[in-house]
């Protein structure tokens, strides 16, 4: 018996584990308290959606694609609709474009608040978790008023949006945003000052800007490493080129910076919603498109709450897609997660920090494995 090899133990976490909201398996290699390696298994969520999409028409697929992820369902349908519309080569009416942004930003606020609660829970600050989730009900109420359902909204349809808004609803949205804004500012203050949050997140889960770029990280994970990258700004879709907003970055490169980026993004999203609601163009909300899509292949990108979401559709001219590929932000962030967990001696990763690090990329395994499975990683 020799050397240090016998000191390395495997610790499995999952698939059913209190720290995981979704089935996934992490095999941690630990040396004492320190994590030295990690292996991921996301096959628990693999459903076979990409294959099933080849057997459904474009309209049926809208409802299948929506169920890749319940949290970012607005972003999923938006990306899919953008792809099908560009296959037809058609633009949608300006009013529909603005309404899509409203739905997208409300769902982003919802997703970030949900995540903030989960992160607080992983930190061990359950009071904060409960407060955040109570305020999250405001955005769910707005989503229900806008689309008719709290979570799975089916708001985007091919060629526009499903429901129009009334003056009454717009003032309700304004009121909801006014209610939410001071709460989010208060949370920001707590995150900046609370000792238990600072101790559990500062210097934890470090991802250097170089590593973030090299591993093709996306979304808030990338922006928290100080890199200014946002699909809404770089490759604008809908009316994002007409709606002013700032790309939020932070240079902490740790879990704390990721919390701050998301909180600032909520404030930015509130401003964007207000802008859209006050400058909503008049006109139709739907442009009817034929059932059969012309032959061709298209790629579309959207900034989902977790980062860049990508769809590829190849059409052979029939009413069903030949191939439909979905690439989700969680899968893009997995290599970054592995770097955060395996420090290679540069700094120490304790087992106790693993849930916080995992939560800090906001994993959604149902998106990641979707696709061909569902995901979120």
């Amino acid at each position: 018996m020799s050397s240090s090899y016998e000191r390395i133990f495997d610790i499995p976490i999952g698939p059913q584990h209190p720290a995981l909201k979704e089935p996934a398996m992490l095999k941690l290699k630990v040396d004492g308290e320190h994590v030295v390696g990690v292996d991921l298994d996301v096959s628990y969520n693999h459903r076979g959606i990409e294959k099933a999409a080849e057997y459904r028409t474009y309209i049926q697929n809208l409802y299948l694609i929506e169920r890749i992820c319940g949290i970012c369902n607005v972003a999923q349908t938006l990306t899919y609709c953008l792809a099908v519309e560009s296959l037809h080569g058609k633009e949608i009416p300006p009013r529909a474009r603005f309404l899509r942004v409203v739905a997208e930003e409300i769902s982003r606020i919802n997703s970030h608040l949900l995540w903030l609660g989960v992160a607080a829970h992983e930190i061990g600050f359950d009071t904060f978790f409960m407060h955040v989730w109570l305020d999250r009900e405001i955005t769910l109420g707005l989503m229900e008023a806008l689309s008719g359902n709290r979570i799975t909204s089916s708001y985007n349809v091919i060629g526009g949006v499903r429901r129009d808004v009334t003056e009454e609803l717009l003032s309700r949205i304004r009121k909801g945003l006014d209610e939410l804004e001071p709460r989010v500012k208060r949370y920001r203050e707590i995150v900046l000052n609370d000792r238990s949050i600072l101790k559990r997140t500062q210097g934890i889960g470090i991802l250097s800007p170089g590593d973030a770029m090299a591993t093709s990280a996306v979304g808030p994970t990338l922006r928290a490493s100080g890199i200014k990258s946002d699909v809404r700004a770089d490759d604008p879709y809908c009316s994002h080129d007409q709606i002013p907003f700032n790309v939020i970055t932070a240079d902490g490169c740790d879990a704390h910076a990721r919390i701050l980026v998301r909180l600032d993004e909520i404030l930015e999203s509130i401003q964007m919603c207000r802008h859209c609601v006050s400058r909503l163009p008049a006109g139709p909300i739907l442009q009817r498109l034929p059932r059969r899509a012309p032959q061709g292949e298209v790629m579309s990108r959207v900034e989902a709450p977790r980062g860049e979401l990508f769809h590829y559709i190849s059409s052979d001219g029939s009413d069903k897609p030949y191939r439909c590929k979905v690439s989700t932000p969680t899968l893009a962030n997995l290599p970054a997660l592995v770097r955060m967990l395996t420090s290679k001696g540069k700094y120490v990763v304790n087992i106790a920090d693993v849930p916080v690090i995992l939560a800090s990329i906001d994993p959604c395994f149902s998106c990641a494995a979707r696709v061909e499975h569902s995901g979120g990683v």
Binding site: H46, S229, M299, R301, K325, L331
Partner: protein
């Protein structure tokens, strides 16, 4: 950086079979299997080193591998592989972001990535039969057999 710049740099490159500008911010390049790594390296040198996705498509007469690289511009590199021998060199040493995506294509479409650091199964379940690739056109999906008979 814009589409013209990418076209200018790549115009003389070896192994490029076709270049198409799909729209203002989308380019589609087709290259041979041998030239794949070289083309990806040149694009990465231009700043297109962010791996957006890797798509595998079974076109029946070939298996197409599409590597989507992007910043504000998105360039797609297409390689047509022989369905009887779908092998290609990995790019995960140059672009670490490609690692998980190559494993995904390997699991679901059966493309071999030569030189991949960890080609273990990733997406499909542990009891999934080897050699069956769900995204091939020849695969017909059906639900698994129930593990118990439903109560009636």
């Amino acid at each position: 950086m814009n589409a013209e710049e990418v076209l200018r740099v790549l115009s003389g490159a070896e192994g490029i079979q076709d270049v198409k500008v799909l729209s203002e911010r989308r380019i589609l390049l087709t290259c041979s299997r041998e030239a794949y790594r070289g083309v990806v390296g040149r694009l990465a040198g231009l700043g297109l080193s962010h791996v957006v996705a890797i798509t595998g498509v079974d076109m029946k007469e070939s298996i197409d591998l599409l590597l989507h690289l992007g910043s504000s511009l998105m360039a797609t590199v297409r390689v047509r592989l022989d369905p009887s021998d779908p092998k290609i060199a990995t790019v995960s040493d140059m672009l670490p972001g490609a690692e998980m995506r190559e494993r995904e294509v390997h699991d679901l479409l059966g493309v071999e990535f030569e030189g991949h650091p960890s080609p273990a199964r990733f997406m499909v379940s542990e009891d999934w039969p080897t050699g069956v690739f769900p995204l091939r056109r020849s695969f017909t999906p059906s639900a698994p057999e129930p593990r118990r008979s439903s109560p009636q």
